[in-house]
Symmetry: C2
Subunit: 227 residues, 2 copies
Amino acid sequence: MCIQGGVPMDFSSYFPIWNKLTPTQQQILERNAVLRKVDKGTVIHNGTVECTGLLLVRSGQLRAYILSDEGREISLYRLFDRDICLFSASCMMNSIQFEITIEAQKDTTMWVISADTYQRIMKESAVVANFTNEIMATRFSEVMWLMEQIIWKSFDKRLAEFLLEECSLEETNILKITHETIAGHMGTAREVVTRMLRYFQNEGMVKLARGTVEICEERRLQELSDT
Amino acid sequence: MCIQGGVPMDFSSYFPIWNKLTPTQQQILERNAVLRKVDKGTVIHNGTVECTGLLLVRSGQLRAYILSDEGREISLYRLFDRDICLFSASCMMNSIQFEITIEAQKDTTMWVISADTYQRIMKESAVVANFTNEIMATRFSEVMWLMEQIIWKSFDKRLAEFLLEECSLEETNILKITHETIAGHMGTAREVVTRMLRYFQNEGMVKLARGTVEICEERRLQELSDT
């Protein structure tokens, strides 16, 4: 067990269905969970590594994205405290036939559980298997939402939504983010982002400066993203 | 048990993990599975119905797609003999937060299992829960593949791929399909499809007639889709 700021930060209080596990299962998990700290920007998992293991975020933020052959990215979802990343342990399930990259979006502390360990428990425990099902359904829902956005929502709406979400995550109205980074998140080219941001600026919704995007009229961006 | 053409066509021989179920679970499933026949074109499930139940295809073909507010469609995946559709029973899992439509692509015979029944067995059986996990991972993989196609592959490649897949499914080189229908499958407008098919025709790869697309040079379409 590790202590941070006087608060016990042990694995058991972070693993969502801890109380539903048998003592043996608890012991196996606790013994095999390895606490790991990574700096912002670290690539924790990618397609070339088959099985990094399950990741349970203690603090920080992870980002899952896919990468095209030409190196273009698109963000799929983010993981926050207590979230579990399954797809970094995709060797666990034969039917997972896609590759994602997981990167630390902020300095992150997380537990890594080997796929073997988790799979062993999941195979014998209906509770763990059903829990895993719910995690997968959550990620699936996020990806479906994203796909609908990409197919059917025009780029101005997606960009407005992205800026509002970033503000809410960072708890600020002045985002420190480059157009290049936004383009990476949204699977588009930097020029497309710059053009749209300039349009937003002309409309008075944002103010641009080197490396920052300031949100001036949240309400109008919200209206745009809602339509 | 029903007999078709002298062959026993009972539920147990169609349900993939039948032998791993307990006799009680087998009994519950068999007693609650309702055989249903639908004609080609029937919408079996959509977002307004919360829980149609799990579908196990005996024969025929189902298509899962999403629908935009403006009525545009995009095909997500198809289900064939012995395939199971989970998302027509999305009430089973809290974390499934998206809506799909399921339509019979051909005359189809299938068993419908109520979500209650399946959920009851899944909650107690690690085997069924893990099996369900694999089904979801399979669909997830199909959707991820589709998303990568949409984001990163140009339309000519996607159309070539679609035509080749249809030929292989229908076991013919002359597809009876309208441009409108193809557009529906691919989430685009009819004009876009017509323009690209005419380009393919000019290149000698296909021959167009009213309501049909004939594949003339499969090899070239294959090369196009592979690049």
